[in-house]
Amino acid sequence: MDTFERIELRRFVGRELLLWLWFESEVFEATLETKMHGSFGLWLEGRLVLSAGQEVTTIKGTIPGQHREAKEALLRGKMPDLAAIHLSWADHDATLTLKAETLGISGLKLPRKEPDAAPTGEGTTAPPRRAPRRRAAPAAAAAELAASEANEDLYERMRVTREIEGIVEALYRDFLALRLGPAWSEVVVPALEAWTSGRSVDADRYGTARTKALSAAGTTRGSPRK
């Protein structure tokens, strides 16, 4: 199998990642955890699109994964195409849409800049802004200031973007550890089947088995909190 085939014939892995995130966010009541990030909130919010071939089901709503049509679509063989996700970590909230087949991100709304702790109440989070100038700056200096502010904005936006991507990547690492090992068929698939068909999933039992599998795969972390 060449690289092209490894990419093109395995794009469904992205769909299964979304399915697993959806499943875990429901089973663990929207509180997931990675070794690197500790626990954080993650849930599907706003839009979920599932498909099988030309057949597409789009579900919109506050928690689209909990709509009856969502699980029915899974039972009819559809898999997630894209999902709008809400992430809540370290006092920050962000929303994004993750496309399964390319892992492309769209509509990423970054957390709002928090007011600085400075007494004036103005400014942004790091990197610090410059102090206001006393006199109107000449055109060249004003342009330089504008460019510098644009750079600061870019730097800050990229920093937060990387933080969010880091969470998604850590989740993907855990998913791969399960997906590419015996735990997928022994632990995850039976739980997914129960969850899809509306039977209850023992979150503690699943969490313990999953943690054990991740430890065996070398991706140790604690059980997600319920």
Partner: protein, 209 residues
């Protein structure tokens, strides 16, 4: 699609190769200036062209060091100009020109070469009366990570950007996918061979049986 404001929509590309040769900033700056956008002219044969511009500023083509380098990031705009003359308009004008030409020459038919030349003349005339469509997509290359974030999901635009990126920096880009991200995160030998064997998970068994 902007990198500096609003929500972010982007695709990631992994840089294949060593991104930081000796005195890379100067080298890259020269290479970027060499591939900066050159606007299309009506009399040129090229109907579409791409080049670099300042991030978020499609008409800023004179690129300065501070516009491009921001700490570990290389920030650029990927601009594409394309002549977009509506097909029906071109057809109608060509018909008019053909009729006028035949009348002038006192003939009834045009040769294939004459037709093509006439069409090109008409298209050029129309291009002089209009301006090419300009599209710009922001791009941020994080050199520490070896990742390019391209603020569009359009396939064609991404492919054109990859080509220009390679011409400019001599580096290939690999689009992110489940597999490329997995290898980037690190697959063990066992996982690599498991990847080749994995099959789609079927949850619809009960319905099927």
């Amino acid at each position: 699609m902007p990198a500096l404001r609003g929500s972010l929509t982007y695709a990631r590309f992994f840089v294949d190769g060593d991104a930081a040769p000796h005195d890379f900033r100067e080298k890259y700056m020269r290479a970027i200036r060499l591939r900066a956008m050159k606007p299309l002219e009506p009399d040129e044969e090229e109907l579409e062209r791409s080049g670099w511009c300042k991030l978020a500023e499609p008409f800023e083509l004179e690129l300065h060091y501070n516009d491009v380098f921001c700490n570990e990031y290389v920030a650029l705009g990927f601009r594409t100009d394309k002549w977009q003359i509506p097909g029906p308009m071109l057809k109608a004008r060509v018909r008019e020109a053909e009729a006028a030409y035949l009348e002038k020459k006192g003939r009834e038919k045009l040769g294939r070469k004459e037709k093509a030349e006439l069409k090109e003349t008409v298209a050029r005339k129309l291009r002089r009366q209009t301006a090419p469509a300009t599209r710009m997509v922001d791009l941020v290359w994080s050199m520490n990570e070896g990742i390019v974030r391209f603020f569009s999901h359009a396939e064609k635009s991404g492919a054109n950007m990859m080509e220009l990126f390679h011409k400019t920096f001599g580096l290939r880009l690999v689009p992110e996918s489940a597999y490329t991200l997995a290898t980037r995160l690190g697959l063990s030998k066992a996982q690599e061979s498991a990847w080749q064997e994995i099959e789609f998970t079927v949850l619809a068994k009960e319905e099927a049986s």
